[in-house]
Symmetry: C2
Subunit: 710 residues, 2 copies
């Protein structure tokens, strides 16, 4: 239960080392004390999180690349333009030589490593769009010749790309894009056009300021026939970084966070690019205007193969979400260890203040988010492994096409749930830091803001969950439905809800039941005469709930596999100590009973109502016991994330203000009773002067104070 | 169910008026169409919300004071210093003459009117702290002589005040404050001191930049004895706005939002103020160092009477929370009416896109927040009425002291729940606007950010709920406990959950059951040997849940009273039309079944799985039906809030950036393949030139496009 509440916190002048003073909070010893309580070695847990000691070494090497570039709280005082400048400078400093080697085919970071880089970024910005969606799209959709021209230059940072898909009027529904690419056979060119206000490309990172090129998604029109959305390479800016003719570029304006990232808009008026700018790995147009596909694609199943770049983006966002919850949990747990507070309405006057960590509601809020961070990190590793397997060049295109839909549903579910869990979880952790969490200098405030857009970007969470559920429900047999509905719950005690294996089994059952319920709802609507589409729309609430539960099931599966050392591709499994295993099994069970206790949905899916009203019941009681149990490991569990401390001082604020503030003379001063203020300041001066004279009753007020208390 | 999805949205070039074009989204007709569907007259609902036509008139007059001061999206491009300057300018322009009249006793805005003013503020800032906590504290705690000196000047804006209570190490626990006020009898002065780092005054609005004076809360020490926390008047700055000796002032730095509001810190080193600067309505110190109280207070019950300023602050925050949910709901509902989207995975290629309002999950998220806005607004009116009754000078001090604890618990509960519902609800509404909700220019993003601090400020929500629950649970008789536990639920059908009166009765029952559960948990812990304090801490989860349910009960009570025209002090009850009543009863039931469906249904309290994500449960089904029913009123229900449209363009962003961006030449250009970019731009120029020649195959690409589609 942690060290007993110390008396030190109550005596401002204390009586030893590391006590509160005018220059110290007297808390330097607190975290050391917490660390001594842990039931496992922190480094062992770090190895587990990374996937073995070798990966820890590699991750530290990668994350070390940005050492010395920390902006600290300074970044909250920088303009957007300054943030972008700094991003460009730092990013090129780190990546230029790697980019050259990558372009020459001598270096290729793994997807996991790219995600580590994103996590380590001190000031993230639009180069992410260049290397992740833009380059990934080239890798998957460009022909070899095209890749040699654009891909190699992009890797070497000789051209900078943006990924221009979404439009002002069109987000998740890619098929509804309005941008047109009309083939002009005589000129052997595509005419690119955004014909309406709602067709303007809207949001692409880097488009507004940084990019020289973009991959533009547009409806391909050939001899009066539309072939659907295709990707086209477009040069945006010339060698002096001026927009080319017919291209109107702009930036969308300040956002809630992530302001080093320029978000662009693009209006195209009669812009022409060569016929060969259509990305041509899976189709091309001949000079005489025929639309052709390679044999393997033409004869294979019809699947949007260019979605593979989307799968990768989703997988990295899941990993990033885990990292962001982890960082926020680290700040909030450490803050809650150091911060003490008197209990509200405490009956005993002068009772020692408790550490925030020892308040049950606070402890539960913190530890369940720690559990979420582990769950999301482990699920990200599983998803990255699955996506990597799909990228294997030895897998035939047809096989890839066969696997893609299920992976699309799973990645969409995980992306939706992980980004929701991150957005809601980080915000709750921020609130755990009280008012100070509202200051950007706390670090945790910006974590909350910078990530918030992931919830709705690249697939809104409701849209993704619906799509995943539709996919699953259409494949559900009548037999599967009745067998799911017939299976009873085996959870009959608090102990059942403390057992990770039983919880996993229960989550599988609930997920199946939820899908069965959704299928029944869809069938019911159809029986009442609804079309397939209307029936699916009517059952949307059930479908979303089912997909959310499938997500929780995957998180539990991934967590369980890691805790038991059975995760596929876990190079560190052999190194796991029994102590780490015990702690992970508790944390895994905590994740599960928390999901159950809060009703199986993140607050966002419940309409924004907070889960402050935690229900009791078996799952709730199990959660309470596990939180008591894991209390001693709280600090070690977040230490294991292996981040640098993120606290920064608030002193930098002074540079933003003049004294007196701008507007004082023109507006405030004419209202003030200046004579009265002057009188008051003269009194204060007289009082200070009296103090300095030998008759002054108190030489040094602070000594006087200390004497008066002894 | 709204108008059928129009074909217009699919055809970029359309065939009539108000259709998509390069300069129009073609959506101007949409809201007019929605308004025509409503079942009630919008103005009747506005009157209801305001409390009658006379109040609507008064509110519009008050809110109109800031007309012409709208900053629009421009404010997101202003520095903090510019925001403060503008706040000072605009605030003084509006308030100077009223301030004079208020100081002369000729004008006093009601609490409700003050809250309307806060809602109308275009750029809120630290004058709020001056007029709300500072002036309110003077009204309640200063002696008449003191009020004549400071209160009158404050009302006239001749001195500007801040409210310096919280410290770096001390937030909710006022008794733990470390700032010292030691009486120096010889000098007849108080010595004010912040002896430690954690004692620094931290957060007070206006303290860093604006204020000339502050009310400082400090431990009163007299002849070596501590009398607890008292309030002292301190002049901070002289007639040239320079800090006085011994006073170190600063600003805490950028925050997530609310950045026109300067948040200050204050370090005091041996600062001296006259003995008479102790606020002296309820106690004073004589020249010979005796601590005295007026007769009525000395003989009355021991209650912290200076909490009345806190009650008022809480009440205004509840009202503000209702207003902020309302504004966010207005933006999100209108956006969802105008925005169309193809359904994910829609089977029918080319099917018309639906309005977002016609997607069940989106519709539920929107309408339940509309219901929340109404519930919070009505509860705020009830609370303001109760607090106003307490301010009545005819009520004897002893009677006030008797009423204060219960009102403290109720106001704390409502403040906690309303600010939580606002923070979580506005954020969910923001997400309902997709990616565009992340842009500050959407308006809704800043609504979310600017209000977020209310959740933890002036009493963290967990601390407030705990305090309220402790208060209630200690007064619970054994009889009340067993009678609560014996009462069965009467909710047995979907219809029951569509009936606001039945839901209210059920909420009363659940709230009683929750308090009984909490009392049993406390008693159980005590029986195991826990101290009272430890037992209360151990039962914290149950106590918080009980207080939250009590909060929902109050919201339902207030809503029901307004919907049935039985709210006390409702001047507009007689004017309510039957149509308004019908709509309000539905909305009231929607609020109730949403609360139940999202985690409070009795079935979920008994262990095992909650029905929170079981939309097939009774409450969930009722919610779905009510949302279908209220669909036609969606736009009218938010129109009734009577705010100006908040949409702003994003074009202003351009002013923040240079072209090319800062850092282009120094950092990016050396990396680029300049020759390749130049080659590309020459090609583009050649292509454009070819087009201008008579041989150009397409004169105007956009006409060509339109022809190719016809």
């Amino acid at each position: 239960m942690g060290p007993p509440a110390s008396e030190q916190a109550r005596h401002p002048l204390g009586n030893g080392v590391d006590v509160p003073s005018p220059t110290s909070g007297g808390t330097a010893h607190v975290l050391q004390g917490e660390r001594a309580l842990a039931t496992f070695q922190t480094i062992d847990m770090t190895h587990k999180l990374d996937g073995g000691p070798a990966k820890t070494k590699r991750r530290r090497w990668i994350m070390g690349a940005s050492r010395g570039m920390e902006l600290g709280a300074q970044k909250y005082h920088m303009s957007r333009e300054q943030l972008l400048e700094r991003h460009v400078k730092d990013f090129l400093e780190i990546h230029s030589s790697f980019g050259q080697r990558m372009g020459d085919g001598k270096f290729k970071p793994t997807r996991e490593e790219v995600a580590w880089m994103s996590e380590a970024a001190m000031n993230s910005g639009p180069f992410w769009d260049h290397y992740v969606p833009f380059l990934t799209a080239l890798q998957s959709q460009a022909s070899d010749e095209q890749f040699a021209e654009w891909g190699v230059r992009a890797a070497k940072l000789q051209i900078i790309g943006s990924y221009a898909q979404t439009e002002l009027g069109h987000g998740s529904n890619v098929r509804g894009l309005e941008t047109l690419a009309t083939f002009d056979q005589k000129a052997d060119e595509w005419v690119l056009e955004t014909p309406t206000l709602t067709a303007i490309k809207w949001w692409p990172g880097g488009l507004g300021m940084l990019a020289t090129h973009a991959i533009v998604y547009a409806q391909l029109w050939l001899h009066g026939k539309c072939y659907g959305v295709h990707a086209f390479m477009l040069q945006l800016r010339d060698h002096e970084h001026r927009p080319l003719p017919g291209i109107e570029l702009g930036e969308l304006g300040p956002k809630m966070g992530d302001n080093g990232h320029d978000s662009g808009r693009l209006r195209l008026t009669g812009v022409r690019v060569p016929r060969s700018n259509l990305l041509a790995r899976y189709q091309w147009v001949t000079p005489d205007g025929r639309y052709e596909k390679p044999e393997a694609v033409a004869s294979g199943p019809s699947v949007p193969l260019h979605y593979s770049s989307m799968l990768l983006t989703r997988a990295s966002w899941v990993q990033l979400a885990g990292g962001q919850i982890a960082k926020a949990a680290m700040i909030a747990v450490r803050y809650s260890a150091v911060r003490r507070q008197g209990s509200a309405g405490a009956a005993v006057e002068g009772a020692a203040e408790r550490q925030l960590l020892d308040y049950p509601v606070q402890r539960r809020r913190l530890l369940t988010q720690v559990a979420s961070a582990y769950a999301v990190k482990f699920a990200a590793r599983r998803l990255l492994g699955d996506v990597k397997a799909l990228e294997d060049p030895h897998v035939p295109v047809a096989e890839k096409a066969r696997r893609m839909p299920a992976l699309g549903a799973e990645s969409g579910t995980l992306k939706a749930m992980a980004t929701l869990m991150a957005a809601d979880g980080i915000e709750d952790l921020r609130r755990c830091c009280g008012g100070n969490g509202y200051l950007l200098s706390s670090g945790i405030a910006a974590l909350s803001l910078d990530d918030l857009w992931h919830v709705t970007a690249e697939g809104d969470f409701v849209v993704l969950l619906l799509a995943a559920a539709r996919f699953a429900v259409k494949r559900l047999s009548a037999e599967a439905i009745s067998s799911a509905q017939a299976k009873p719950s085996l959870m009959n005690s608090v102990e059942d809800w403390m057992d990770a294996e039983k919880i996993l089994e229960e989550f599988r059952r609930i997920s199946a039941v939820r899908f069965a319920d959704a299928a029944v709802a869809v069938a019911g609507a159809k029986a009442r005469g609804c079309s397939e589409e209307d029936a699916l729309n009517e059952a949307a609430e059930q479908l979303v709930a089912a997909a959310a539960w499938r997500g929780y099931q995957i998180f539990m599966e991934a967590f369980w596999a890691e805790a038991t050392g059975t995760a596929s591709g876990d190079e560190g499994a052999a190194d796991m100590t029994p102590e780490v295993r015990v702690a992970l099994l508790k944390l895994c069970a905590l994740f599960g009973c928390h999901v159950a206790a809060q009703g199986g949905a993140p607050a966002s899916l419940q309409g924004g109502m907070s889960s402050a009203t935690a229900p009791q019941g078996f799952a709730g009681q199990a959660r309470q016991r596990l939180c008591q149990d894991l209390r001693v490991d709280a600090v070690a569990l977040v230490d294991a994330f292996d981040y640098e401390a993120l606290y920064e001082a608030s002193k930098l604020s002074d540079q933003d203000w003049s004294e007196p503030f701008q507007g004082y003379s023109a507006f405030l001063r004419p209202s003030l009773d200046v004579a009265y203020l002057q009188k008051g300041s003269l009194q204060a001066a007289a009082s200070a002067t009296a103090l300095e004279s030998p008759e002054g009753s108190l030489k040094s007020p602070s000594i006087a104070v200390s004497q008066s208390r002894l």
